[in-house]
Symmetry: C2
Subunit: 108 residues, 2 copies
């Protein structure tokens, strides 16, 4: 994992709020990003692997910011690059079983 | 359980959508109602037991409708009364472990 660069602001684990997490994930684009993040270690947000080519880059950045501010994802800035990963351990500690149940739930 | 009256429109179990469920629960009032519903068999929505005396009745009705339309709660109309209950079995069948993890998660 890339540990260089600067970690963008995010809530402490104990401050991650369930309602904010659910609000963040109650959107199809952000649920998609959540599943993508969960499938790998970390992502460069400019990556086409995000599968959101149909959205403007600023829209994707907006959704990623909401996920970060809700405590769902960490973002590390290295120069102009952004590396994002799911805060799986933090979420599991705060809300046991939640991430697993979401990932096991059927997609639309 | 009261089985009289008319069941208000609600999605079939197979049509309950995860993102809509999370969107519905991503609101503090609706998360409160979810926890109240989960604590009992069914509720008359005029009941003070809902713990939402500070909200206008139409606001509470609005939130209850969103929960019903998302597939989280069933509402039975008997005359002017409304009896609401959590669709626990339907949610457990559709999203195994989700309700349990939400109920076990810390409240703000």
């Amino acid at each position: 994992m890339n540990e260089e660069g600067e970690l963008l602001p995010q809530p402490e684990t104990a401050d991650i709020d369930l309602v904010k997490v659910l609000h963040a994930l109650g959107d199809p684009t952000r649920m998609h990003l959540f599943r993508v993040y969960a499938s790998g270690e970390q992502y460069d947000c400019s990556s086409e692997r995000l599968g959101l080519d149909h959205l403007h880059k600023s829209t994707v950045s907006h959704h990623m910011r909401i996920l970060r501010e809700a405590g769902i994802a960490s973002t590390r800035a290295v120069g102009r690059h952004r590396y994002v990963r799911l805060r799986r351990a933090d979420l599991d500690a705060r809300f046991p079983g939640l991430v697993e149940s979401l990932l096991n739930s059927p997609e639309p």
